[in-house]
Amino acid sequence: MALMPKRVKWRKYQRGRNRGNATRGNYVAFGDYGIQSLENGRIDGRQIEAGRVAATHFLHRVGKVFIRIFPHRSVSAKPLETRMGKGKGEPDHWEAKIKPGTILYEVGGVPEDIAKRALLRVAHKMPVRCRLVTRHRS
């Protein structure tokens, strides 16, 4: 099931801009290895879920996968074959805004090579360029 908020202040959001770099959530805090976004972009609930499934299936439910992002914002869309106008479309899906440096997923409790292979599979599901990072700086 795709992630979405339980309660929101407003049903619909304006698109806005997504500029600048991540100043929070930009280091591995829970697991041992993580993937970090190198671009800004938007990741929707289904993509986040796809990443989680890719990691947990590969790890055979060993270790722990941490999802560090959440789709807080709704994206509206108009139905197919509808004329323009008549107001803003209804909420279609939910997405997270991503900035360069944001840690997307973390993995803990598994050996390094396994964690790297799992996170590579996750990275392929992401719509932004990612790189692998570790908890401790070299």
């Binding site: 908020p5 309660r7 929101v8 049903r11 280091y27 439910r61 060993v62 440096g101 070299s138």
Partner: protein, 215 residues
């Protein structure tokens, strides 16, 4: 262990501000501050390459030469850029060589636990501990041998072997590493997409207001 005499040449920062710091970084310098020992804090800048090399070698105690005077400093905090790659600022605290200081030291797990053969998974619950030790004998890391650990074993901070003269500040009961059989993650139930919609807080407030006006 650590610490040899490494001299970093520092220069005073003439002006404060983001633009000045940015220009310094572009010129291969790192803005820094030196404080402590009840003296005035000094804004300085250091050579990026030299500093990065020292930090890469896990040196905590540095000797900084400022205006012809050499002083011993301890690296208190390092700020990195958004990707965690480049050093953008460093905090240095003045210390005497006979001083005892409180530092955070990383834990390094050594070996494969015996319980791994029985399906146990090694889980590191604490990445670093706080110690009080002599400034000249700050350990690079604390090695934690885990080879003898069986499934269900738990190692606490109080059980760690610390270097001579070091005193543990972290709560000794804090769990550090465990070997356990991971429970299978619960699979979320599939729901029909588009069916659920979040509760809207603003709408609820509007409804309350309209109810009040009706009264």
């Amino acid at each position: 262990m650590t610490e040899e005499a490494i001299v970093l040449k520092a220069e005073r920062k003439q002006q404060a501000g983001t633009r000045v710091s940015r220009k310094l970084r572009l010129a291969g310098r790192v803005p820094a501050i030196i404080y402590g020992h009840q003296q005035e804090p000094e804004s300085v800048h250091l050579d990026y390459h030299d500093l990065a090399l020292e930090l890469q070698h896990h040196h905590r105690l540095l000797a900084v030469e400022l205006a012809g005077q050499r002083q011993q400093v301890l690296v208190k905090e390092v700020q990195y850029d958004h990707l965690g790659d480049k050093i953008i600022h460093v905090d240095l605290a003045r210390v005497r060589l006979d001083e005892r200081v409180e530092v955070t030291v990383a834990l390094e797990l050594k070996g494969t636990p015996a319980g791994a053969a029985e399906g146990g998974v090694l889980e590191q619950l604490l990445g670093e501990i706080e110690l009080e030790c002599l400034v000249t004998s700050i350990p690079e890391s604390i090695r934690v041998p885990v080879a003898a650990m069986q499934v269900g074993d738990l190692l606490t901070a109080g059980q760690l072997v610390l270097p001579e003269g070091a005193k543990l500040i972290t709560d000794p009961e804090t769990p550090v590493v465990s070997v356990s059989v991971m429970a299978a993650e619960e699979v979320a139930e599939e729901a029909v997409e588009g069916e659920a919609e979040p509760e809207v807080i603003a709408r609820k407030a509007e409804e309350d207001e309209s109810a009040k006006t009706e009264d």
